[in-house]
Symmetry: C2
Subunit: 504 residues, 2 copies
C-alpha cells in the first residue's frame, strides 16, 4: 500500500509541475489582453508556441506514462490495485489517463502552430472589429478553421469533426445531442421572445458612465459575492474574461461600456465573478491533479450565468444594490423607482450583441453561432459566407440585421482564440444553471429575503458545496444529478424564464 | 561551410527557445511587483522555482552541449572551424560557452531553491519596510545569504566568495579590483561632498503630486527620449525597475512619491528609461544569441545614469522641460525661475535614500552597500549586525543616521531578490557614464543647444551606436575603449562632478 501511495504522490508531484507550467499560459494570455504593449504581439505568439509545445511534451512524455502505468492500465483504463486507492485518487487517475490519451493524439507541430497562430489572430480580430473590416480577419479565421479541422481529424470522432472540438469544452457532448437539444428548445425560446417582448422606457440605463465610479461599485459587488480580494484582480480588456493561474491567483476583466449600465457593464463583472468563484472554490488540496480543475465549460458557464442572470437580474438583488447605484449615478437614476429599474434591466428585446442580450434572446445568439460553427467545420459554409449567414439567421431568429460587422460576426473574440466548440456551452450553462437555481430555491426558502439584505455568501457556499469542490470528480451528468436529483432537464430553464417574465 | 552555418543556426534556434523561456521569468517578476494579488505569492514562488529549474536544465542539457561542440571546443574554448564563422558568430559562441560552463557549476537543486526563496523574501521585505521591522526580514535575508554563499562555492573564485557573485553582474570584476578602485575615489567623493554641499531653498520641490499629472509628464518625457510607445509600458511599483522580455516588449515601473518632485519621481522614470533604451536598442536580428543581451549591469547602469543625471539633471534639459512642469504644478513652481529650479534639483546634501540622492553622495551610498555585502559574504558581519554597521557607515560617510530601518537598511529591494554583488555596478555605471559623457560632448559640440530644444533622439542614437547595438560582442573594457579611445578611467566622472558643481 505504501508503494502505491508513493507512486500516486509521484504523479501528483509531476501534475503540480505541469499545472504550474500551464499557469504561465494563463498569465501570458491575461497579459496579452490587458497589459502587453502592442509591439509585443509577435513575440507573444512565439512565447505561447514554445510554452504549448513544452506542456504538450510533458503531458505526452514517457515520464508521465511511466508514473501512471503502475496505477492505471493506460489501454483499458482498469485500475491496477484498486483497493489501495481512495475514491478521489481513482477519479484523478481516470481523468489523467483521459488527458494523456487525448494529448497523444495531437502532433506536437499542430499544438505549437495553433498556439502561435491565435495571438496574431486575436490582434487582427481587434483591429478588424475596430475598423469594421471582415477582410482583415478573414485570412486568420481561415487558418484557424483549417487547424481546427486538422485537430478534429487527429482527435477522432464518430459522426462530425465538430464533435471532436465540442469534447474539448464539454466532454462527451456531440453535435447530434446538441442539435436534438437545441431543436427542442429553439421553438420554445422563439415563443418566449414573442410572448415577453415589451416596449418599456429604459433610456435612463444609457449614458457615459464614469469609469472610477463603476469600478468602485464593481469591487463592492465582488466583495459581497464572496471573492477574497487577496486572491484576484480586476482589469479592463476588450472582451471581459476570467483566467485562473491557481485558486489563489485569479484574473478577472471587464469593460466600461458607454451603453447600458447593467447589461453593458455590471452584468459582465457579475458573470466573470461567477467564473472566478468556481476557480477559487476548486479543492486546492488536490492542486496538480484533475480534481482541482473545472469539470467542463458548460458547468463553468452555469456558474457565471447563475450569478449574472438568476441572481444579478433578480428583484431581490437590486432591492439591496439599487440605492447604492442610484447614489453613484443620480443624473440617470435619481427619479427612477426600483420597480422601473427592475423592469428596464429585464426588457426582452432582440439586439445585436450577445453578451449584452436579455436572458431569453441570449440563447438564440448562441444557437446562431453553433449552427454557423457546425456548417464551417463540415464545409457547408465558407469563411467569406459568414457575414451573410449571420445576417440571415439574425433576421430569422431575432428579426433584426446588424449594419456593421463589428455588431455582427466580429463581435466575439472566441474564433480568434481558436475556441470552436465553445459557444454551445453558454446555452448548456443556462440549462444547468436553470436546474441548479430550481434546486437552490427549493433548499433555501428564505433566499430572497437574504439576498435583499445583501447577504450573498450563502449562494457562493451553495455552489461551492454542490459544484466547485468536486472539480472533475464526477461527470456533468452525475454532478447535476447529485445536486438536483435529476439529470439535465432543459424544462427548468424554460420554466424559470416563462415564470419570471410572466410577472414582468 | 554550409554544414557549419547550419550548425550555428541550430544553436541559434535552441537559443531562441531558451530566451523565450527566460522571458517568462521576467513576466512573472514584473507581474509580481505590479499586478499580482497578494495571495498569489506562494504559488508565484512555485512558478519561479519550476521555471528556473527548466531554464537551468536546458542551459546545461546535452542537447545544447552537442549543438555547441561541433563549433567550439567546450574545454579549451578554441573554435573548431574558425574560417567558416563571421566575427559575430565567434563572439556569440564564446559567450554561449561561458554561460553553459557557468550554469553547469550550479546544481539544479540550488537554482530552484534560490528562485523559490526570493519571491517570499520580496514579500517579507515589503512588509518589513512598511512596518519598519528588521526582524520580519532578517530570517529571509539569512537564508538568501546562505544560498548566495553556497552559490559562490559552486561557481568558484580565486580570493573571495564575493567575487563569484560580482561576476554574475559584472563579468571579470573582483572585490580586489573594486576595493582598489573605490578606495581611490572614496576620498575624492568625500572631498566633493564637503566642497559642494550648499544650503539652498528647495522646499518648492516637495508636495503631494497628482499621480495623473506626473504620469502624463512621464509619458511625454519617454516619448522625447525616443522610446517607441508600442514597445513598452509604464506601471507603478514599490521600487522602480525595468524588465525586458524582448526588445519589443519592455516593462518599466516607477513610483509616485510625495517627497521630491524630481529626485523622488521624475528621475526614477528617466533612469528606468535609460535601461529600457538599452534593451530596446540591442541587435534584434541576433535575438536568441548572447549578442542580443546586455553586456553587464555596470554598462546597463551607465545607460540609466547617463540619462538620469548627466542629461536629466542638466540645465539644458530643463530649459526645455521646465515650462511644461511649471504649468503642471503651478502651486509649487509658478514663482520659481529656471535657475532656482536647476540649483534646487542639484543640491548636494547627505540624505538617507540612495535612489533619491544627489549625484555625489549617491556613490557613497553604493560604497556603503559594497562594504556591507563583502563583510556579510566573508562572515565578518552577521545579519543581525547590519543595522548597526549601516548606521555607523552612514555617520562616517555622510554624517547622518537614519531613524528607521525603512530609511536605512530596508530601503532597497535588492537583497530580497538575492542580488548580492549588484550594488557596485551602480558606481561602475557612473564611472562608465562619466567617460561616455565626456566623449559624447566632444563629438556633439552643439549638444546643449539641441537638448534645450527638446531634441533628445541624437543622445539615444549616440548610445545605441556606441553601446546598445553591440550586445555582448565586446568585453566592457573593449566597449569603453572603442567608444572613447581609452579603458575605464574614473577621473572623467570625478572631473564631471567637480566641474558641474563648481558652477552651482
Amino acid at each position: 500500500m505504501t508503494k502505491t501511495l508513493t507512486t500516486y504522490e509521484a504523479v501528483t508531484e509531476f501534475g503540480k509541475k505541469l499545472k504550474t507550467l500551464t499557469s504561465l499560459k494563463a498569465l501570458l494570455e491575461w497579459d496579452q489582453e490587458t497589459k502587453m504593449p502592442s509591439g509585443g504581439v509577435e513575440f507573444r505568439s512565439n512565447q505561447l508556441e514554445m510554452l504549448s509545445g513544452l506542456i504538450h511534451e510533458k503531458l505526452t512524455s514517457s515520464e508521465l506514462n511511466n508514473l501512471l502505468s503502475p496505477l492505471i492500465d493506460m489501454d483499458s483504463g482498469d485500475l491496477v490495485d484498486s483497493d489501495s486507492l481512495d475514491l478521489s485518487q481513482k477519479a484523478a487517475l481516470r481523468e489523467w489517463r483521459k488527458d494523456v490519451l487525448k494529448a497523444k493524439k495531437l502532433p506536437d507541430r499542430l499544438v505549437k502552430e495553433f498556439s502561435k497562430t491565435t495571438p496574431l489572430a486575436i490582434h487582427a480580430w481587434a483591429k478588424a472589429k475596430e475598423e469594421n473590416s471582415f477582410e482583415i480577419f478573414a485570412p486568420h479565421l481561415e487558418k484557424i478553421i483549417d487547424l481546427s479541422k486538422e485537430k478534429a481529424q487527429h482527435l477522432g470522432y464518430e459522426f462530425s469533426p465538430y464533435d471532436a472540438l465540442l469534447d474539448e469544452y464539454e466532454p462527451k457532448m456531440t453535435s447530434q445531442k446538441l442539435t436534438k437539444l437545441f431543436s427542442e428548445i429553439k421553438p420554445k425560446l422563439l415563443d418566449l421572445v414573442k410572448t415577453h417582448s415589451k416596449k418599456i422606457d429604459s433610456s435612463f440605463l444609457y449614458g457615459d458612465f464614469d469609469a472610477q465610479k463603476l469600478m468602485s461599485f464593481n469591487k463592492e459587488l465582488l466583495d459581497k459575492m464572496g471573492l477574497n480580494k487577496d486572491f484576484y484582480r480586476l482589469d479592463l480588456s476588450n472582451h471581459p474574461f476570467c483566467l485562473s493561474m491557481h485558486p489563489r491567483d485569479v484574473r478577472l476583466t471587464t469593460h466600461i461600456n458607454s451603453s447600458d449600465l447593467v447589461a453593458g457593464n455590471i452584468s459582465a463583472v457579475i458573470h466573470e465573478a461567477g467564473h472566478a468563484l468556481y476557480e477559487m472554490g476548486l479543492p486546492i488540496e488536490h492542486f496538480g491533479t484533475p480534481l482541482c480543475e473545472a469539470l467542463s465549460m458548460g458547468i463553468h458557464e452555469s456558474q457565471s450565468k447563475f450569478w449574472e442572470t438568476m441572481i444579478g437580474q433578480s428583484f431581490e438583488f437590486w432591492e439591496h444594490f439599487f440605492p447604492t447605484l442610484q447614489k453613484l449615478f443620480p443624473e440617470n437614476l435619481k427619479d427612477i423607482s426600483l420597480d422601473e429599474f427592475y423592469k428596464a434591466i429585464n426588457i426582452v428585446k432582440p439586439s445585436f450583441i450577445r453578451i449584452h442580450a436579455d436572458e431569453i434572446t441570449y440563447n438564440l445568439h448562441v444557437i446562431l453561432r453553433f449552427e454557423i460553427e457546425k456548417a464551417l467545420l463540415s464545409d457547408e459554409l465558407k469563411v467569406s459566407e459568414i457575414p451573410e449567414a449571420w445576417n440571415d439567421k439574425m433576421q430569422s431568429y431575432l428579426g433584426i440585421v446588424p449594419k456593421t460587422f463589428s455588431e455582427g460576426c466580429l463581435q466575439d473574440i472566441h474564433w480568434s482564440c481558436g475556441l470552436f466548440g465553445y459557444f454551445p456551452t453558454y446555452l448548456l450553462g443556462n440549462l444547468y444553471a436553470g436546474q441548479l437555481y430550481h434546486n437552490f430555491r427549493k433548499t433555501h426558502l428564505d433566499y430572497n429575503t437574504k439576498i435583499a439584505q445583501g447577504n450573498l455568501l450563502f449562494i457562493r457556499d451553495y455552489l461551492k458545496k454542490n459544484v466547485h469542490e468536486f472539480g472533475r470528480y464526477y461527470s456533468q451528468e452525475e454532478l447535476i444529478k447529485n445536486a438536483t436529483g435529476e439529470t439535465l432537464n432543459p424544462e427548468y430553464f424554460i420554466q424559470y424564464l416563462d415564470s419570471k417574465y410572466s410577472t414582468l
